[in-house]
């Protein structure tokens, strides 16, 4: 990690934390200055974070998505950026209030959580040196970012139900609609990530599906979002059940991303995806 990368990521992390705090302050107080400054701070944080992440790739001469650390950088950037775009298109401040704390948590993990691969960028080992890496991991990062926004929106929809208008949140029909929108955005990217991963596995290992630990948990994640889409199409289920499924989906994603290595070690399992 270069000094410039550390500085940019530090600014990005601080920006996301401050933006999340200001957004919640706006929801509590209703002062429009909190909203504007929060949005500006989020943009500064996002740009600094993205510059730190992509700059790492320039130093390495490769697309910076080869390690757990680099994926956490990408996931943070995509989650924060997707929430900003959703806010801009929908005009709802609740998107940032839900998603930026998640993005800040991911950023905190990348910076302080001892994420594997945080050292100086290394050339790719032969098994990872494939154009399908670019498609597979990029699609996964965009899908995971969208899922983080969906979970944030789902959490806000649940908070809106519980807060009884004490917070400046859109009422449940609107917040439920935003949650479904975010799921709808994320889902095709998750499909593309699985498809590209299967093609990559076929050319690299001669088997497109190995029932590997990580593959199975990726399938579980995909099934949860498939379930969320089906549940959302039943009118009486499209409120809090979908919101809960987005939170469950994010929880499984975090487990797949962070917890599988520990599970594999605990159970003495081998995985092609645990290094």
């Amino acid at each position: 990690m270069t000094e410039l990368e550390t500085l940019l990521l530090g600014v990005g992390f601080a920006g996301l934390v401050v933006a999340a705090g200001l957004r919640w302050l706006y929801l509590l107080r209703g002062d429009v200055r909190d909203r504007r400054v929060g949005t500006g701070t989020a943009w500064v944080g996002l740009l600094a974070w993205t510059a730190g992440w992509l700059g790492r790739g320039l130093v390495a001469g490769a697309w910076p998505l080869a390690t757990t650390y680099e994926f956490a950088l990408a996931w943070t950037a995509v989650a924060a950026g997707t929430a900003l775009l959703f806010e801009r298109v929908s005009g709802e401040s609740a998107m940032g209030a839900g998603a930026w704390p998640i993005a800040a948590g991911l950023a905190g993990y990348a910076l302080f959580g001892g994420a594997p691969g945080a050292g100086p960028p290394q050339p790719l080992p032969p098994a990872l040196d494939s154009p399908w890496l670019l498609v597979h991991v990029t699609a996964a990062a965009v899908g995971y970012g969208g899922a983080a926004v969906a979970a944030g929106a789902g959490a806000m929809a649940l908070v809106a139900r519980a807060s009884a208008n004490r917070l400046l949140l859109p009422p449940p029909p609107r917040s439920d609609g935003l949650t479904r929108r975010a799921v709808a955005w994320a889902y095709p990217w998750l499909c593309l990530g699985l498809l590209a991963g299967a093609i990559w596995a076929q050319v690299a290992w001669g088997r497109y599906w190995n029932w590997d630990l990580k593959e199975t948990w990726a399938l579980i994640t995909w099934l949860i979002y498939t379930l969320a889409l089906h549940v959302a199409s039943v009118p009486r289920w499209r409120g809090w059940p979908v919101a809960m499924l987005t939170l469950l989906g994010l929880g499984v994603m975090l487990f797949t991303f962070l917890g599988l290595g520990s599970l594999a070690r605990l159970l003495g399992l081998t995985s092609l995806h645990v290094y």
Binding site: V89, S90, Q122, P123, P125, P126, A127, D129, S130, W132, P170, P173, R174, G177, L178, R180, R181, A184, W185, Y187, P188, C191, L192, L194, L195, A198, I199, W200, Q202, V203, A204, W205, G206, R207, Y208, W211, L213, T216, W217, L219, I220, L223, I224, T226, L227, L229, H230, V231, S233, V234, P235, W237, R238, V252, L260, L263, L267, L269
Partner: protein
């Protein structure tokens, strides 16, 4: 006259049944901690089979409604259909893989050595093997020169590395790894024939494009509207 809720066709075509089956599949995989290959278990296959029947009956039962919606919303209707058709194609590919695919791994082949395949009357000869390291000793690349023979007649010749197999008569010859035999490296080659791969890829691609069409082709102004049950 409308059918009662317990009519088999009504149940089989219902989205709640799809939700229940998806929940059961998710729970089964999660409770196994993802460490078991459940795909061979009859009850797991039965759940998938019911899900396929549910999807097929659900889609056909809505064809007339989808046809009437097609004129005002062609992208979403096409996407919904493509998503479900893609899933059926993918599952057909999985079935084909399960029935007809074979894989065979050769013993470690030093340069000049040959191995016979049992699945096809072919032989594999290692013509050369390069193991490249960088200046600090990290593995950078492994390349094997390979000839595939029918009897003593060469059918194809080429260099393989991880992610770049040699394809002969529909079978891919992958570099599976290498071991050191004394001071000399020896290549391990895996021959793979899987006719289900392309149907799986085509199905997944169709489903992905369908999902994008069905889920993205909706104007933002309707985000807060209560939609209809469109099976998406």
């Amino acid at each position: 006259m409308s059918r009662p809720w317990y009519h088999p066709r009504y149940i089989l075509a219902s989205t709640p049944l799809a939700a229940i089956l998806l929940t059961a599949l998710t729970l089964a995989l999660a409770l196994s901690l993802g460490q078991l290959d459940l795909s061979g278990a009859p009850w797991f296959q039965a759940l998938v089979a019911i899900l396929v029947v549910n999807g097929a009956v659900c889609t056909t039962a809505r064809l007339s409604r989808l046809a009437s919606r097609f004129r005002r919303d062609p992208l979403r209707v096409s996407g919904t259909l493509a998503m479900h058709l893609g899933l059926f194609l993918l599952l057909a590919g999985l079935l084909l893989s399960g029935c007809a695919a074979w894989r065979e791994t050769t013993p470690a082949l030093a340069v000049g050595q040959t191995a016979d395949l049992t699945h096809q009357a072919l032989r594999v000869r290692c013509d050369g093997l390069q193991v490249l390291h960088d200046h600090v000793g990290r593995l950078r690349d492994v390349r094997a020169g390979l000839t595939v023979l029918a009897g003593d007649t060469p059918l194809a010749q080429g260099t393989i590395r991880v992610g770049e197999p040699l394809t002969v008569l529909g079978a891919g010859f992958h570099l599976h790894g290498y071991i050191m035999q004394g001071d000399e490296p020896a290549a391990i080659v895996q021959a793979v024939y899987d006719p289900g791969f392309w149907p799986v890829v085509a199905g997944a691609a169709l489903g992905t494009v369908g999902a994008a069409l069905a889920l993205w082709a909706r104007p933002w102004r309707t985000a807060n509207e209560e939609g209809t049950d469109d099976g998406a």
